[in-house]
Amino acid sequence: MLTAIVFMPAVAAIVLLVAPARTPRTAFVWSWILVSVVELLLVVIVWVGYRPRGGFGWTENVAWIPTAGVGYRVGVDGLSLPLVALTAVLFVAVAIYSLRETRRVKSYVCLFLFLQAVCLGLFVALDLILFFVFFDLSIVAMFFLIAGWGHEAARAAATKFFLYTFLGSLALLLGFIGLYLAASPHTFDMVVLTRTDPLAGRGAYAGLVLFALALGLAVKTPTVPFHTWLPPAHTEAPAAGSAILAGVLLKMGTYGFVRIAMPMLPDTWRRYAVVFIIVGVISVIYGALVALAQTSFKRMIAYTSVNHMGYILLAVGAAGALSGTDTQARSLAVTGAVTQMVSHGLLTGALFLLSGALYDRGHTYEMADYSGLAARTPVFAGLTAVAAFGSLGLPGFSGFIAEFQIFTGSLASATVATIVAVVGILLTAAVFLCALQRIFLGPLRLPDAPGSARAFPDLRASETAAVVPLLVFAVAIGVAPRLLLDVIEPTARILTQLVAR
């Protein structure tokens, strides 16, 4: 089943590749939409059919390269299933949004389908090498998307993105090898590595392995100071690419923390938890501050991603700091971290799609060039406002559920850090309020001469249809979080137990 989910988009991509070049361009996008909707349905089936309380479900295990300890092992649990679902949802949205794409649609769709397969594969992978394969391929696919369909300086940004994240992935690989060599018999099986905790009591060696893993994941996440690839990549990427980059690809880093770094190196994680807490807090505050100073709407959103990812790091760090806390708090922190991944994916995905709509109309991301758009484009303004408030952590949206759990769960073990980090939500509030005010409120002013003939239509049906579902999901999680938390919590509890070993 999971195999079908992972490889169906890839197969679809191959089928579309051989389709004649004269096929109308919308046919490609529509088939993509079809594929992603079917994917979503399959994911729903998986979700409904996921039974084990916290353990792995829907597992498949096929020998792949047994001599190298590599297997094709997939499965989902409470940490990965929400992200799989998020991926499926985001890709549907992006597919719908892409109905307006006109440039080299065939390759565009094929690349996205490939990326979709890769993203889904990463989250279901239960083998380090399988994980790494997808981790790397996601970089490749995204590189081509940015370079091929980005804005003016896309090539430089794409290269920077590729080089930087590739560095991260190789560091990750070294860490994987470290784990592999420590296991006896040597294996890349995540389940086995998690169960056996091969590096227990291996002091410096384990520290180095964790360092490699953390470096790789931190680059991908990204955390300060490894985030500098993110703003140019986002600024230059096409809107759909940005949405996936922020919505799914960044999660690969944070997911790696909860899936690999924490359970496989529990004692080392505990020893260095304070580092992650500090890095997380710095990311939170720093990301928000830099976002506050941005003049470009898209760059601003990019920096808020740094901020949001910082909360996750804070949470996972706090979950590893054992001092004076009970399991409930740590489980809350981990649950909050996973919820934040989903929430950030939905809301930031929506924001990036909206920023794409803005660019399509005004051909600039500079907030100073716009004013009072709410008068001309009420739907656009309304959706952006909703997404912005969701993103700043307003209750009723998924972001609050995530951040509340993170703060509540982290305060006990990382008091000062959490109190500092809480300030982050005030800063993000300021960031988004300023942005909303600059772009949408006040007297009407459009780029170029005011009142010029440039058409500045409200959101088109396809754009609305792409964004609204994301916001609906965000609200659904915000109002009825149990839908999501029932899946996450059992696994989060298991994870906290694993870390406490």
Binding site: L289, L433, P443, E489
Partner: protein
Amino acid sequence: MSHLSWLAWLLLAVPLVGGAGLTVAGRRVNSLAPILGVAAAAGTCVLAVVAAGVRPAASAPLLDGIPAVVRVDGLSAVMVVTVAAVTLAVLVFSVGEFDQDENRGRFFGLMLLFAGAMLVTVTSTGLALLLMGWEVMGATSYALIAYWWHEPRRVAAANTAFLTTRAADLGLYAAAGAALAGGVTGLDLADLPKASAPWLAVATVGIVLAAFGKSGQLPLSFWLSRAMEGPSPVSALLHSATMVAAGAYLLLRVHPLLGASGWGEPTVAWLGAVTALVMGLVAVAQTDLKQLLAASTCAQIGFIILAAGAGGVSGGTMQLVAHAATKSLLFLAAGAWLTALGTKQLPALRGAARRYPIAGVTFTVGIVSLAGLPPASLWVTKDELLAAALDRSPGLYAVGLAAAVVSAVYSVKAVWYVWQPEEANAVAGFDTERVGTREISHTMRPPLLALSLLAATLGLLAVPAVAEPLRRALGVAGEPSPHWWELALSAGLALAGSGLTWRWGARPVPVAAPVKGLLHRWLDLERAAHLLVVRPTLAMASASAAFDDRVLDRGVHAIARSSVALARMTARLDDGGVDQAVAAVAAGTRWLGQQARLLQTGQLHTYYAQAAVLFAMLALVLVVVR
């Protein structure tokens, strides 16, 4: 636990769902919006009254070990009825305030959401759900204050309001974490006093901070001044039963926590008292009616907070209810004049009461109450809570009394203007804020009348026959009631203050100009906030951004550049760079280095030389290293 849970949920769902629906529908339901909005508010009101009677409760799982529980207990019952009633009154009034070309769907929707969020806040028994309502309330207040978003200053005011209150809200986040850390796993408000040692203090500080921010207590009062940029009905709701009341409510709710913390009660009480006094003085210094009322809100809420700190929960609750009726009445009346005359400047409002007597009379009723004059409501409720203060500390009582006198002063100052005869050139002062309609629409009258009735009569709450059951319902039976001399003293002081003020009229007050200015500018609190918080933050933001662009990114680039340089060097290596280096090292002279430069021809013999030398070096290394 889940007694009549459907009722509890319905009470919250009607305003929230209705409000969300209307907000989303926006202009599309412009003509129906007032009817739908009022209907929803009326429905909520009925549900609230029923709920206050039958006391439903409901529970749902929310987070891991942290359920979402709503319960209408004593305090909540009072609050839900107050909130629902004031909302209904304000919405009915609003029907006449907005005409067809404004987005009425959005207005009524947001108002309902606002009220719904307040209902969530006051019915929730746990911190998590309370915080949700609390924050949504803040966000909707933002949207309401910025309702006329075309004008940047109103948006800026909304930003200020939201950011200030949210800054204080951070306290609640911290409190939630502290509660959990302190062992209060369900984050139940009632269990907070049981939190373990250091966390109890953190939770207390957090909650007090949040309440002070929401209630506009010193030093976070300034946002209330800016909030006056919103429509009058918004002010009426925001300053009476919701938002500012939420902070006071929270402190009344968690007064056991204040007690448990040891230092909480006196601190809160004194801060409340000081706010009541100082913000009263600020109110006196105002010349803008709505600003005056806004400052008076801070002062009046200060009394409630004093009550929460002094153990006068019942008095505080009575004050809260009475103040809600009074203040919404006053704002609505001020709003009626603003709509009609286009101004809210007191000098320009001379004769307004004579021009529109219904508004004038109801306004006066409200002022009587606000001034603490007998027999209106705030006179008794204030004495109820001051009785508790006296029980604790005479000093506190004295400050409270002083504040009461001040409230009489500013109240009468306001009413003095509107009853003056209209000046000849009165029209010149009109229409400074907006274009007035010169009429008070008929839908505005019933709310004014109803609220004035309440403002006048809610003092009955303090009649022992009512007060005792109320105290039992609040679970604070045995709180002190005022003695007859206290009532008389406060009435006398209020009367004296009022009389003096009336006689004084508009003559300048002999106070130093800087002090007057300071009071007029709300103690320059906003400027201070700007100077101390906003500007440094923005400076830090641009510094960080510059750091990000110049240093971090450059750093990465510098690494790239240096490896590029290294690459260029190695690209030439085949031409004899290594040879050159090796030669230079071997001979150690510059002259020979220049000779070696002649070899940079990329030729075979340099290959030979390099290979020979390098292998020889390798051999040497291998021979030496054993």
